[in-house]
Amino acid sequence: MSVLTEGAELRLVEFISKSVVDHPEAVSVTLSDPGDGSGLIEIKAHPDDYGKIIGKRGRIIHSIRALVTIVSRESRKRWNIQLPERPGHDHEAEDDADARGGDRT
């Protein structure tokens, strides 16, 4: 039987984020758990690095979410993993670019 210690989710998210970015020193991961099932893990990073953490079509951030569910299988907690909203970032433009980029999934 495996033993997963407290805070394993936070350490996992921090480890992965730091491993995929160019500025690991700028990564900070915070966790808030009010205990009502709305636990939140927030990743902050160097502005140039968000794309790396998100990945093409969100592949990396989705994978991080999947891996967190592996770690939290025993505590049965659900975590909401978020990146800060970037001010001035045009989501629609990105969606258009994705559509033009064709099917890459």
């Binding site: 039987m1 495996s2 033993v3 997963l4 394993a8 350490r11 996992l12 480890f15 992965i16 491993s19 995929v20 160019d22 790396k52 990945g55 592949r59 990396i60 989705h62 994978s63 991080i64 999947a66 891996l67 569910t69 592996i70 770690v71 299988r73 099917d103 999934t105």
Partner: protein
């Protein structure tokens, strides 16, 4: 354990020189003083430089990467047994064995794919010089076997009822296996349908001895 000798005016300088040239930190090495520095007496006599022998483990980019992947896997499953195998040049298979492998693999290999995605993202930082495939409890071998078995069973039905059958959606690797395997069966014709990387294969009956279109396999990338 490897070692290199370094010389400098003082012991501390020699060690620092070694760390700088090897790109290691103080924790990575141990050393032994071969010769202590000596100052000439009143500027007379011979002064001698300090000489140290630095012992270090080779810490290549690759080892570093493999350590990272192992750390990741152990974070997911602390009791996992991890083995690293080299298959070809710069291709490595990291096999994981664990009682919890069903969680690590996930439904339809979903979690395994997530692990692989994260590992690929780590590798990208090294310009994709290395490839590391994560295999959990021989998942790929088992998957391969079951895909082929299902395809052959479906092809037998097609042969019997002379009606086309669709297989479940599959990735390029699995489709390639099916195409290759069913090519051996006389009268059976396979074709991928759909768009994107995940497509369905249609198995249809062509009749014994009919000319076999060959281009399907070649069109199918990897």
């Amino acid at each position: 354990m490897l070692y290199i000798d370094f010389e400098a005016a003082t012991e501390a300088e020699a060690v620092q020189l070694a760390l700088d040239s090897l790109g290691l930190t103080r924790d990575d090495i141990t050393y032994e003083v071969l010769e202590k520095e000596k100052k000439g007496l009143f500027g007379l006599g011979k002064s001698q430089k300090a000489k140290v022998r630095i012992f270090y483990k080779e810490k290549s980019e690759l080892n570093h990467l493999i350590e990272k992947v192992k750390t990741l896997l152990l974070m997911l499953e602390p009791a996992a047994k991890i083995e690293v195998n080299t298959s070809e040049d710069n291709k490595y298979v990291i096999s994981v064995e664990s009682e919890e492998s069903s969680h690590l693999i996930g439904r339809g290999g979903k979690n395994l794919q997530a692990i692989q995605n994260v590992v690929n993202a780590m590798l990208q930082k090294n310009q994709n010089k290395y490839k590391i495939l994560i295999d959990i409890d021989r998942y790929y071998a088992r998957k391969e076997k079951s895909v082929i078995e299902q395809a052959v069973a479906a092809a037998e039905k097609v042969r019997q009822f002379k009606k086309p059958i669709f297989l479940q959606p599959m990735n390029p690797f699995e489709r390639r296996l099916v195409h290759m395997e069913l090519k051996k069966m006389n009268g059976i014709f396979t074709e991928s349908e759909g768009s994107g990387t995940i497509k369905k294969i249609r198995i249809s009956w062509q009749g014994e001895g009919a000319a076999r279109p060959e281009e399907d396999l070649q069109k199918e990338p990897g």
